[in-house]
């Protein structure tokens, strides 16, 4: 016999407690009488010395003990004959999105592979001996415990009802390892999937049996989706553009219909509808212009040969321009200003503002801020504008330049080949060099200020840097980095499993409570800070980040995984475990279960022995229900 909840046996401690109450507790006031035998009750005789009495076995005591025993057993849930044959079944459920695909038949979509897997699993659960336990693990980037560990098989259905496989392609190994640990030595392991994995390549543990319910299916998918704003925002009627990549992942050519609907409050508004011919195994781009101001668009591709709905739908949020305010305080006739203006006019999403409200200020080195503003600054040389100092400045060739911080975002894509670094001076303030030549810093970040200040330690009048391809890249990087440092989302449309990282304004950053993220059918909390990072987005959908009643961000997450969308290689079948599992029973409880039982039995035994010994010592034969004897033969 075993117990599903052995800790419930602790309730048996009530037995000696009840006995002790009956043994030591005087319930009634004493009443001296002359003929106790006439009252028809049992006698309890005192022994001299310390007062100990024989436990009075009354109907009340018996009923109370029985009630406590029944309650304890009910709590412990005894399972007779299950110890030797009970099985701990640990099932790993493939959480891939392909498990949500329908099995297409001539009559239309039939059941999904998920439903087939559940059916197979439930059939196995019915065959489990009484007392068996079940653990369910869903695979994914991080394996999830769906049910258990070691739960009752009758309660599995509720967990399976909530199982919704939507994961992108991932490694099953973490889920297998977790299952292997939970199964211990005697557990039975099973992997329910839609493709039998290659044991050698997948490193599947040998104790795993594999059940695959997949079948090759055709599928239409949107593997990429992008919404771009109008190029020329100043032009009236400029159109934004939605770019889609449509894929026919079947073995036959087919026709699909792409429909887009603007989601505006409670009312949906058709945006466009296109019919596309898709060749077997080929992808096809689709670009459609859309007018600005739609907000959110729901796009679907439908066709008769589409087994998986998850990858046939994307939701896109209209991108919002994040304009950077740029102020330039360089002298109007300086060469540096001309060279910078030449680049800035080609870059999008910035506007000229005064230095007080600017996000980025381009100024002479002598003018750069030393305060606590969170502005970005670019100080352009010469560092010391004194003629003598300018005369002492040196010109350096590209061969001597060394990029010290190759992974710095400001230098992303910058080559600096053939650059003459003219007018280089020594820097007299604390800085972090980004590009150096010997002991001289050519491009550096100033450290003695809270503002982000970069110093270009050259005299653009003496350098050919503005004439190289690196110049617009460098200024563009600076502008984009400055833009990223401003509050707000860098992008609004993401793929499943992408991390969303962005800054929020000071007002939201200084709050006490956690931020609330709602989307993908669930709600979660996000740590508050100037930099917010949201990870583990495994469900597609529209997400909203709020701070109380204030909406901080809204973005879309879409399932876009061409590998997972491909259903043509799915296979059905079963493979037994390479190493048979000896299911000689398992421990479903703590190792102290039998110690608890032993202790309780000892207490009961001692109580009975105590009662027996005292009974003999008392020499009383009259029982509580015996007939009173006032007639005594002489």
């Amino acid at each position: 016999m075993s117990f599903a909840n052995p800790w419930g046996l602790l309730a048996l401690a009530a037995l000696p407690t009840i006995a002790a109450i009956h043994l030591f507790h005087r319930r009634y006031p004493r009443l001296p009488v002359a003929g106790l035998h006439l009252w028809g009750v049992a006698r309890m005789t005192h022994t001299p010395g310390r007062r100990r009495e024989r436990l009075p076995i009354t109907a009340t005591l018996i009923l109370e003990l029985l009630a406590a025993l029944v309650l304890a057993l009910a709590l412990a849930r005894p399972q007779v004959d299950s110890f030797d044959r009970a099985i701990h079944l640990v099932a790993v459920l493939d959480g891939s999105a392909s498990m949500s695909a329908h099995r297409l038949t001539a009559g239309g979509p039939a059941r999904t592979f998920r439903e087939l897997a559940i059916e197979d699993l439930e059939r196995r659960l019915k065959d489990l001996p009484q007392g068996s336990a079940v653990t369910l693990i869903e695979s994914g980037r991080r394996p999830t415990l769906l049910f258990g560990p070691q739960g009752h098989p009758d309660e599995v259905s509720a967990a399976l009802a909530h199982w919704s496989p939507q994961a992108v392609q991932h490694d099953f190994q973490p889920a297998w390892d977790l299952a292997d640990q939970l199964a211990e030595a005697s557990g039975r392991l099973i992997f329910l999937t839609d493709t039998i994995p290659d044991s050698e390549r997948a490193n599947l543990p040998t104790r795993f049996a594999v059940v695959s319910v997949g079948e090759p299916q055709p599928n239409l998918a949107i593997t990429a989706a992008r919404w771009t704003r109008p190029e020329d925002k100043a032009t009236a009627g400029a159109m934004g553009e939605i770019t889609l990549r449509l894929v026919n992942l079947g073995r036959r050519d087919t026709t699909g219909t792409v429909t887009a609907t603007a989601v505006n409050g409670q009312q949906d508004q058709p945006v466009f509808s296109r019919t596309v011919e898709l060749a077997a195994g080929r992808s096809q781009p689709l670009q459609v212009g859309v007018r600005p101001g739609l907000g959110e668009i729901d796009i679907r591709i439908s066709g008769s040969r589409d087994a998986l709905e998850l990858d046939s739908r994307v939701r896109l949020v209209e991108p919002v321009a994040r304009t950077v305010g740029v102020a330039m305080t360089l002298p109007a006739d300086s060469i540096a200003r001309q060279q910078l203006n030449r680049v800035l006019v080609t870059l999008p999403d910035w506007r000229a503002v005064g230095s007080g409200e600017a996000d980025l200020v381009i100024a002479r080195v002598a003018e750069v801020a030393t305060g606590s503003s969170d502005q970005w600054w670019l100080g352009v040389g010469p560092v010391d504008e004194d003629p003598a100092a300018r005369k002492r400045a040196v010109d350096l060739s590209d061969r001597s330049a060394y990029v010290l911080e190759k992974r710095h975002p400001l230098l992303d894509g910058v080559v600096l080949g053939g650059v003459i670094w003219g007018g280089v001076q020594d820097l007299a303030f604390d800085h972090t060099p980004l590009v150096t030549s010997g002991s001289r810093s050519l491009l550096a970040r100033k450290l003695d200020t809270r503002s982000t200040v970069f110093v270009l330690n050259i005299d653009l009048a003496r350098s050919n840097l503005p004439d190289t391809p690196d110049w617009p890249i460098l200024i563009s990087n600076l502008l984009e980095e400055c833009r990223d440092s401003r509050p707000g989302l860098r992008r609004v449309n993401y793929r499943v499993s992408e991390n969303v990282r962005f800054r929020i304004d000071d007002t939201a950053a200084d709050g006490d409570k956690l931020l609330q993220l709602e989307g993908g059918g669930r709600r979660r909390q996000v740590a508050r800070g100037r930099l917010v990072e949201i990870t583990g987005l495994t469900r597609s959908g529209l997400y909203t980040l709020t701070d109380g009643d204030r909406r901080l961000a809204r973005f879309a997450v879409n399932f876009q995984d061409p590998v997972e969308s491909s259903l043509v290689s799915l296979t059905a079948g079963e493979r037994a475990a390479a190493v048979p599992v000896v299911t000689t029973g398992f421990r479903i409880d703590s190792p102290y279960t039998w110690l608890i039982l032993l202790g309780i039995l000892m207490v009961i035994g001692l109580a009975v022995a105590d009662w027996q010994v005292l009974r003999q010592a008392a020499g009383v034969t009259a029982g509580p229900l015996s007939k009173p004897r006032f007639l005594k033969s002489s």
């Binding site: 319930r27 009634y28 004493r30 001296p32 002359a34 003929g35 006439l38 005789t45 007639l631 002489s634």
Partner: protein, 284 residues
């Protein structure tokens, strides 16, 4: 006990309910239950060999041609043995012990008043049992009722020194396991007269519901928890009535008298209402 006002008043008011002696004959003698050699004629019966031929009624032989023997009531000496149950059960309420003391003193004084030699025997654990004469009855006033031995135990062990042809008065509550038939038979053996007096407390005679109580036997110290509700009381009273009926029936068979007294009623009332009614006492 002579200083007890109630006892003195009762002694002045009553006398023992023994048979009266004949108007003629020797004075100072009392008559017993058996056939003897007194001058008081009792009855006839046929002659059987061995009978005293002095008692043959020749006139009756002449009339009926049958030898008849005249039987005369035996003459008894007025010796009284007063057995007082001195067990702890008699002191469960003070009134029981008090009435038992008063009764013992009263019977001793009444017996002494008839010229007899009364003996009071407290039935206690001490061996041999003490015999208290008329001169020592004052000791009864402070007699402790602490014995654990019961009347039945002492009789079974033969430790009670009973004199033949004595007036035997037994005072007890009889609330101990006993066989009434055997007990009374032993007490009545060789006794000229036997009076069995049961003294009970008022609550013992007529208990009232008290709820849950731990009953402690005052004599054996045995204990038991019981809910004193009407049902339990009815059962108790049933057993008590059975005991009293059995004692009464056994006494009738032994030509003895059995009465039950309620201790709280007081000596005066029990003498007037119960003892006189039963013939144990009569007004002097």
């Amino acid at each position: 006990m002579r200083n007890d006002v109630d006892v003195r008043r009762a002694a002045d008011t009553y006398q023992l309910g023994l048979l009266k002696m004949p108007a003629s004959g020797r004075a100072g003698e009392l008559l017993g239950r058996g056939t003897g050699s007194s001058l008081e004629f009792q009855e006839y019966r046929e002659y059987t060999p061995g009978d005293d031929i002095r008692h043959l009624d020749w006139a009756a032989y002449g009339r009926s041609d049958t030898l008849m023997v005249r039987l005369y009531r035996e003459e008894i000496s007025p010796r009284a043995e007063i057995l007082v149950d001195a067990s702890r059960s008699m002191s469960v309420v003070e009134a029981k012990a008090g009435l038992a003391r008063q009764l013992a003193g009263l019977f001793a004084m009444l017996s002494g008043g008839l010229g007899g030699s009364p003996v009071v025997i407290p039935l206690e654990d001490r061996r041999p049992l003490e015999r208290i004469g008329l001169d020592g009855i004052e000791r009864l006033a402070g007699w402790p009722f602490e014995s654990r031995a019961t009347l039945a135990d002492l009789l079974a062990e033969g430790r009670i020194p009973l004199k033949p042809r004595s007036v035997r008065i037994v005072i007890s509550d009889f609330l101990f396991p006993l066989d009434p038939e055997a007990l009374v038979k032993r007490l009545a053996s060789d006794a000229a007269t036997l009076w069995v007096i049961q003294v009970l407390g008022a609550w013992e005679s007529n208990p009232t519901p008290l709820g849950g109580r731990r009953l402690v036997d005052h004599e054996t110290a045995a204990e038991a928890d019981l809910l004193l509700n009407p049902a339990a009381i009815d059962e108790y009273l049933g057993r008590l009535r059975t005991l009293q009926t059995s004692l009464s029936r056994a006494c009738r068979r032994a030509e003895a008298t059995f009465v039950t007294l309620e201790a709280e009623s007081g000596l005066e009332q029990v003498c007037r209402d119960t003892l006189c009614a039963s013939g144990i006492l009569r007004v002097a």
